[in-house]
């Protein structure tokens, strides 16, 4: 399968601030790729470089194996974009903004089909297209941008926190539209903070922090990076026996239960040992992505195993 987005060692500096510090990112064709990271990690900067709105200070970014800065206009025939913070023209109605952007993208050539797609999306997202731009709430501005993005089919959808401000029902509508686009073979780069959204939609995930990629892989691969949590009813004396077990970490007694974490590939081997101890009320929770994310999002970069020690770029992210 060919690569749609290929970024190697990408750097971007704004004066003395380093926004991207050697970022790598690979997105294959037909993939829905989750693009995660705390605020200020450099997600939007990466997207702006991919759209040719900003120029890289170093490294290489390729979109459909072309230069996103030099060939911007040409590449944009194949791309749909939803910004994170949508600002509309105050005196244009939502319907006018959708038509304008669709015409600019050349999506209205098949008039009847376009009108049908637009009507379907406006209905699905429950958008009032006659309101003026200034009268829309944040969620409704987001809907205008989403309708404009989906009303013209694209090969690549670049979505920067597209569901911020949407209610849960609308998030479901959004998920359906992504599925529809993916079924047509489109590629999606989805920047998001919402774990459930990423878990539902994405095939692969890249987590970035302080302008660098700290984790990448399928969701299953990422789960392996975290530990399962195990707990049972506390009988005095057992905690020391647990501490002696190979693969058990962070043993604590809390609210009458012994709790510890176990390396995910050691859980099966630990169970007979626990049986020998005769524990009661045993629970084993599968590894959670949330823990992984919190580790990478947290204040202390040292907590993130495998993450490079915070460089100069950490300043922005560590806030």
């Amino acid at each position: 399968m060919s690569t749609v987005i290929s970024i190697r060692g990408l750097e971007k500096r704004f004066g003395r601030t380093v926004a991207l510090d050697g970022l790598d990112l690979e997105v294959a064709q037909g993939e829905i790729h989750g693009f995660l990271g705390p605020n200020g990690a450099g997600k939007s900067t990466t997207i702006r470089i991919l759209l040719g709105l900003a120029r890289a200070s170093g490294g290489e970014a390729r979109l459909f194996d072309r230069d996103p800065w030099r060939d911007a206009a040409d590449l944009h025939r194949r791309v749909a974009y939803v910004p994170g913070d949508v600002s509309l023209w105050p005196n244009l109605s939502g319907g006018e903004a959708i038509d304008l952007l669709s015409r600019l993208r050349g999506g209205t050539a098949d008039r009847a089909a376009y009108a049908e797609r637009k009507a379907r999306l406006i209905e699905a997202f429950q958008l009032d297209p006659r309101k003026k731009g200034r009268a829309y709430s944040k969620g409704n501005r987001q809907k205008v941008a989403l309708v404009a993005a989906f009303a013209t089919p694209a090969e690549l959808y670049i979505l920067d926190e597209p569901t911020s401000g949407l209610d849960p029902l609308m998030e479901q509508v959004f998920n359906r539209e992504i599925d529809r686009a993916a079924a047509d073979g489109a590629t999606v780069l989805l920047s998001s903070h919402i774990l459930s959204e990423v878990e539902t939609l994405c095939d692969r995930v890249s987590i970035i922090r302080a302008g660098r990629r700290v984790e990448a892989g399928t969701l299953a691969e990422l789960r392996h990076l975290t530990r399962s949590s195990v707990a049972f009813v506390h009988v005095p004396g057992q905690e020391s026996a647990v501490e002696a077990l190979d693969g058990a970490h962070d043993v604590v007694v809390n609210a009458g239960r012994v709790q510890f974490t176990a390396d995910s590939d050691r859980v099966a081997a630990l169970l007979p040992e626990l049986g020998r101890l005769g524990v009661e009320g045993l629970t084993v929770a599968p590894p959670s992505l949330e823990e992984l994310f919190l580790r990478h999002y947290g204040d202390d970069p040292a907590m993130a195993d495998g993450a490079p020690a915070a460089s100069g770029a950490g300043a922005e992210a560590a806030r």
Binding site: R48, L51, G52, L53, A54, R55, A72, A73, D74, H76, R77, V79, Y81, P83, D85, V86, S87, L88, W89, P90, N91, L92, S93, G94, G95, E96, A97, I98, D99, L100, L101, R103, L104, R105, G106, P129, R130, K131, K132, R134, A135, A145, A148
Partner: protein, 543 residues
């Protein structure tokens, strides 16, 4: 807490929010008063000269639209004739903007909701706006009175002048507050109230122009339209002559009625709602919005239209007022000399007059063109350029669209001003010659206006964050040095820096277009440079 106790912090927060804005409005208005009264002493120091100017208004009453009711040739009366209506206009605009900003503006931004959720509830913030507006007009009245007294005019007349300006402001405070109740957006409310302020000004001008002059031409009784306008009421106080403040009771009475209405409306409607339903937009875009140029035109059309109104007026006046010209030559040699300085020694006085008006049109055209560049900057800064540039529109074409709209704005404004001039020339002795002169004058302004467009585009590309202040500063400096530089005796090189100084002068039957061609070349080069450089520049959103 008592309502009064709650009112104090609300008024204080309004005063704090407005501290810079109101200081500028009040200082600007008082500064104008000071300049006008000082001019009476220096330029029109001679009573016979003042009398001759007042008599000119018998021949060309249209001039009264921009002045006031003549009430005698004393220094104080003459100063009032020169500037009072304009001071009232400023007070009106200041007050309506203030009213809308603190009522509908807050509601639109959902700030009003935060305050309405406190014990202040829904009505007290409006009461606070009334108090704040009345206080602002009181300060304005005092500042204007001080400005008049500073030029050595007597205290009673100065006080009446100040009160007249302040009372007009209070009347329009009521107008602005009602407009804010009617519409859902502050933009619509501001549009209505600005239209009403301008209408009050023009109705008053019409009344003055249609009024009856006394035999010696030094006094004039305004016709009935003036009695419909708060600005007309202000003039009827006849400062320095009758000094009668009673007509101001009309303004105060109007304000009381309007503000009473506001509280009735306010108690009947939801927060955020309006009496008139908001106008729904189109569900689908029209054919104009098919590309980025159409969008740039749509975003600029409103501003171009308002500059164009000024252009039509200036064009019409350039030819309508020509009957004045002969009279000026004999009665007011000082003014004739001034006009001659602007137009050069070869100009006939009539041509000089037309050229002077068209140099104003040139400034308007340059302003409209620069505004297209500023719009491009606003689009970039607010993030609405981003979705357009994420479509197959190249950066160069995007900026080129705004350059094209700027050039179109220049064409529209010059064509309309020439149209206004043609209409005006129908009344003159020699319509054909007058029309030809006006058309050439309009055309002559194009190169300088286009130079400003090109310079603005270059600034936009090289220093995007400075676009708006630098564009206004360039225009102000260009207008000041180019048109007034010679009058003020500034060095030639300073004068020559301004594009306006090189506009061809259609005088003496022959026109030297050399300067125009040079400037067209510069404008084209600057625009091309900017558009090409845009291909290499990133989008600069923040700041």
């Amino acid at each position: 807490m008592s309502p009064v106790g709650l009112l104090v912090p609300l008024v204080a927060s309004r005063a704090r929010r407005d501290r810079l804005q109101l200081v500028l409005w009040i200082a600007g208005t008082a500064g104008l008063a000071l300049m006008a009264t000082a001019a009476v002493g220096s330029t029109f120091g001679d009573e016979s000269e003042r009398e001759s100017i007042l008599r000119l208004t018998i021949i060309a009453p249209a001039i009264l639209i921009f002045r006031g009711t003549p009430n005698g040739a004393g220094e104080g009366e003459f100063a009032v004739f020169l500037i009072l209506a304009f001071l009232c206009l400023m007070a009106g605009l200041m007050s309506t903007f203030l009213a809308v900003r603190h009522t509908r503006g807050d509601e639109e931004q959902s700030r009003a909701e935060l305050v309405a959720a406190t014990p202040a509830a829904r009505t007290l913030p409006t009461a606070a706006t009334v108090v704040h507006g009345v206080l602002a007009n009181l300060v304005l009245a005092i500042a204007v009175a001080i400005a008049f007294m500073a030029s050595g005019l007597d205290a009673a007349g100065s006080a009446v002048t100040g009160l007249a300006v302040g009372a007009t402001g209070v009347a329009f405070l009521g107008v602005g507050l009602v407009a804010a109740q009617l519409f859902r957006t502050s933009r619509s409310a501001n549009a209505l109230s600005v239209a009403l302020v301008l209408a009050a000004y023009l109705v008053r001008g019409l009344g003055d122009a249609l009024g009856e002059a006394s035999d010696d031409g030094l006094f004039r009784t305004a016709a009935w339209p003036s009695r419909l306008s708060p600005i007309g009421w202000a003039q009827r106080t006849e400062p320095f002559a009758a000094n009668d403040p009673t007509p101001l009771l009309l303004s105060i009475g109007l304000a009381v009625v309007l503000i009473g209405l506001v509280f009735v409306f306010q108690s009947a409607r939801d927060s955020g709602a309006s009496l008139l339903p908001g106008r729904a937009g189109r569900a689908a875009a029209g054919p104009l919005l098919s590309g980025h140029v159409g969008l740039a035109w749509r975003l600029n059309a409103g501003a171009i239209a308002s500059w164009a109104v000024g252009a039509v007026l200036a064009g019409a006046l350039a030819t309508t007022l020509t009957p004045l010209v002969d009279q000026i030559g004999s009665d007011a040699p000082a003014i004739a000399e001034t006009l001659q300085q602007v137009a050069g020694p070869n100009a006939s006085l009539e041509e000089a007059f037309t050229v002077t008006f068209f140099s104003m049109v040139g400034i308007l055209a340059a302003a409209a063109a620069l505004q297209a560049v500023m719009r491009a900057r606003l689009e970039e800064a607010h993030g609405s350029a981003e979705p357009v540039l994420a479509t197959p529109v190249p950066r160069r074409a995007w900026l080129g669209g705004y350059a094209l709209v700027g050039a179109l704005a220049v064409v529209v404004i010059l064509v309309l001003s020439a149209g206004g001039a043609l209409l005006g020339s129908l009344a003159s002795d020699d319509p054909a010659a007058s029309a030809e002169n006006a058309l050439q004058s309009a055309l002559a302004q194009a190169p300088a206006a286009l130079v400003f467009l090109g310079l603005g585009l270059v600034v936009f590309v090289l220093a995007p964050r400075l676009t708006i202040p630098v564009a206004w500063a360039l225009l102000a400096a260009g207008a000041f040095f180019g048109i007034f530089g010679e009058l003020l005796g500034l060095p030639d090189w300073l004068h020559d820096l301004s594009p306006f100084a090189h506009s061809p002068l259609p005088v003496g039957g022959e026109v030297d277009w050399t300067g125009g061609f040079w400037m067209l070349g510069i404008a084209a080069a600057a625009t091309a440079l900017a558009v090409v450089a845009m291909g290499r520049r990133e989008l600069a959103t923040e700041g």
